[in-house]
């Protein structure tokens, strides 16, 4: 009995429950629907929800626990002889020697990785994929594989039986509960509320999970490299030796060059995005005739829809050579991957972000303030400078901070345009690298997972996460304070 079939039957039962509930409500109302507490559909939903959801939750629970429980049972039932003959053919002679002299009581004697390997063999046998299994161990593992098949089948059938019992019981009970006075609507409403709560809790738990996984991996990194060296070291060179005799493989994990590189590029980006975004927002909201505004605003927002990798092309093919040529013309040494080029393009990417948020806050400034200023003989630009911008300032600061956190977290443009050289510099004409670029570089390709090099990516991610989180919190607080003022 496959699980999918169980789920399908439950869904069908639930649909039937809806119909039954509706019918029942109609019949108890005696044809006068108005005498029911709720509309008949609610009675249908009431039956459907209780017939479906508890059993489906059980299926979910079963799926989560089934694997580990069955493995535990299979391993526990294995004879020491079977384990030993598997080990003889599968693990290194030295390990086997140690195992057999220690005297073996069962699968527990194996190391965790060995046990996992054996489990994979058993599972392959049980699912009929014998070709992946070393023929020398098939005989030893066959009883365990059969045991596993048996457990799997039993568990599925009992799941099916239990689910049907639950659904049928729920159908029966809810059907009995339907009377004209029964508050099906309130009941369904409560279920909906809980459904919404569960969804938001899942979203929050995911965030928490991400933070925790970052945290744990970072701890593993900090066990190898001290946090002081990581946070304050001036040299970033994450190569570590794979073999002891390798040359030039001393790892250095000082993240300061990455932080300054990130800061430098974000600064250039904001220096581009803030004036362009803010001034275009001012033009659009205060000066532009409605027709212009209606066409320009969506066009500007198209910028936000361009994939960042396309911005990366633009940076590499157009802006970087342009910056380099300008530098050469001025007699300045410009590296071909300059922070300036990456920053400019990133700034352009952020323009719609700044402009549309600023446009919103500028529009939120009450018209009466503009009238008051015009009525005193102020021109448009005087009104904007002295009344509108000060009134909109908190919102603009919020927009700015959100844009900064976007700039700090941006990866693709800098990967393509800013280069990999971890230079500690504040010169925007040099090549620099950012935190996100390094994370991408550290985790792409085949990596040894236990090395400080790979783990350093998590520590970088952790720091980055906290930086953007702090910026977002500040930005939201600022924006909120502003909202209270005018709504």
């Amino acid at each position: 009995m496959p699980i999918q079939l169980t789920v399908a039957v439950l869904l069908i039962l639930s649909a039937i429950g809806y119909w039954i509930g509706r019918q029942r409500a109609m019949s108890v109302s005696g044809g006068r629907v108005a005498s029911l507490h709720s509309v008949p559909n609610y009675y249908g939903s009431f039956v459907a929800v209780w017939a479906g959801i508890p059993a489906l939750l059980l299926v979910l629970f079963f799926l989560m626990l089934k694997g580990p429980v069955i493995e535990m049972l299979v391993l526990g039932a294995m004879s020491p002889d079977a384990v030993l003959s598997w080990a003889k053919a599968s693990i290194s002679p030295n390990d086997f020697q140690a195992l057999s002299t220690a005297g073996i009581a069962g699968a527990d004697a194996l190391a965790e990785t060995q046990r996992n390997l054996m489990m994979i063999n058993i599972r392959n046998l049980a699912t009929g994929q014998e070709r992946f299994v070393n023929p020398a161990v098939v005989d030893a593992l066959l009883p365990a594989a059969q045991h596993m098949q048996h457990l799997e089948a039993t568990s599925r059938w009992s799941l099916f039986a239990i689910c049907m019992a639950i659904a049928a019981g729920a159908l029966f009970i809810t059907h009995r509960k339907i009377t004209p006075q029964f508050r099906a609507r309130n009941n369904v409403e409560r279920v909906v509320t809980w459904g919404l709560i569960v969804c938001s809790v899942i979203a929050i738990l995911t965030t928490v999970g991400i933070v925790l996984s970052l945290l744990f991996e970072s701890m593993r990194f900090f066990a190898r490299v001290s946090p002081v060296e990581f946070l304050f070291g001036l040299q970033w060179s994450p190569q570590t030796a794979i073999r002891a005799d390798q040359v030039g493989a001393s790892g250095a994990f000082g993240a300061i060059p990455l932080f300054t590189g990130t800061l430098l590029i974000a600064t250039v980006a904001m220096a581009v995005a803030l004036p362009l975004g803010l001034l275009s927002a001012i033009y659009l909201s205060e000066y532009a005739p409605r027709r212009v505004r209606d066409t320009v605003k969506p066009v500007l927002e198209i910028l936000a829809g361009i994939p960042t990798v396309v911005y990366g092309f633009f940076a590499i093919l157009t802006v970087a050579p342009f910056v380099r040529d300008m530098g050469v013309a001025l007699g300045l040494p410009v590296s071909s991957n300059s922070a300036l080029a990456a920053g400019i393009v990133m700034g352009i990417m952020i323009v719609p972000f700044v402009s549309s948020l600023s446009d919103d806050v500028i529009n939120a400034v009450p018209q009466s303030l503009r009238d008051g200023s015009y009525g005193l003989g102020a021109t448009r630009s005087e009104t904007i400078r002295q009344v509108i911008l000060p009134a909109a300032l908190p919102g603009i600061v919020g927009a700015f901070l959100l844009a900064v956190s976007r700039a700090i977290g941006e990866t693709m443009i800098v990967v393509m345009a800013a280069g990999m050289a971890a230079n500690l510099t504040f010169n925007p004409l040099d090549a620099v690298t950012t935190v996100t670029v390094q994370i991408a570089a550290l985790l792409t390709g085949d990596q040894e997972f236990e090395s400080a090099k790979t783990l350093s990516a998590f520590a970088l991610g952790f720091v980055l996460f906290f930086a953007t989180l702090a910026l977002n919190v500040v930005a939201l607080r600022v924006v909120q304070k502003y909202r209270e003022k005018y709504d």
Binding site: S368, D371, A378, E382
Partner: protein, 270 residues
């Protein structure tokens, strides 16, 4: 027909009584897109008088008020025809600087709209724009004089640096009047200045309007007919974009010539 309207709406006895025309409107028509909001308004506004504009909602009185300092310019689809004069100056002359006009014809709005700045900065906003003062003591003098005249000085003199938005509604409105006075306008336009205020604050403002008449010419739009009777010397009754009649306030309220006016002031409609 044209001559008859003129004689009806423009007071012939005024010149004889030695009144000086401060602003005048002849045949003013206002369009919002295709829709005509005013159908040709003829009226004179005399120096140092309070002219009340009354009439039912949507009759065009606020629109007319806003043509007097070209506040309608901020509305894209609005178009004005006719001749509007401030002394010898054509208000809708394309060469005229709107900024200068609005310095001479100030405005107070329906809802108090102090800027989110300190009381002090609210007052010196206009003088600063127009370069009326440069030194700190000059600004101080303007702030004190304006607040004195708006009857707000004693209430706020110890907290001039606090935000203007923190005052009560009535105080805010007097702050806005002080802000308008600070640029020494010749005419002050008031668009239902008391509609958002409680009766006590309203009484305060009405008293103030009466005092301000000494130095300014005031045009006030009001829905409150008792208020028009209390504060104004002359009253103009608007109806559906027409100026139905204008005259001494006492005459309008005791002896209206037009039956629409009578209907409105006796509360039959509006």
């Amino acid at each position: 027909m044209e001559a008859m309207t003129m004689s009806q709406t423009v007071d012939p006895g005024a010149a004889a009584a030695g009144k000086i025309v401060k602003m005048s409107s002849r045949g003013t028509k206002v369009f919002y897109g295709e829709k005509r909001a005013l159908h040709g308004i003829d009226v004179d506004i005399y120096r140092n008088e309070v002219l009340a504009l009354i009439g039912p909602s949507g009759c065009g009185k606020s629109t007319f008020l806003r043509t007097l300092n070209r506040m309608n310019d901020t509305i894209d689809i609005c178009r004005v025809e006719g001749k509007l004069m401030l002394d010898d100056q054509d208000i809708y002359d394309p060469k005229l600087d709107v900024v200068q006009l609005r310095a001479r014809v100030g405005m107070v709005f329906q809802k108090p709209n102090p800027f989110p700045k300190s009381i002090y900065e609210n007052i010196i906003y206009g003088p600063k724009l127009h370069g009326l003062a440069t030194r700190k003591d000059e600004f101080d003098a303007i702030v004190e004089a304006s607040l004195q005249r708006a009857g707000l000085w004693n209430e706020v003199k110890d907290r001039l640096l606090e935000p203007g938005t923190g005052l009560s509604g009535g105080q805010q409105q007097r702050l806005c009047i002080a802000r308008a006075i600070a640029v020494s306008p010749e005419v002050i336009l008031m668009d239902e200045p008391c509609s958002a205020l409680d009766p006590i604050a309203t009484a305060h403002i009405e008293e103030l309007i009466d005092e301000l008449r000494e130095n300014f010419t005031i045009v006030i739009v009001t829905h409150n007919m008792q208020q028009a009777a209390r504060v104004s010397q002359r009253t103009a009754f608007f109806h559906l974009g027409d100026l139905v009649e204008v005259g001494e306030t006492e005459d309008i309220f005791t002896n209206p010539r037009d039956e629409r006016t009578q209907g409105y002031i006796t509360g039959r409609y509006g």
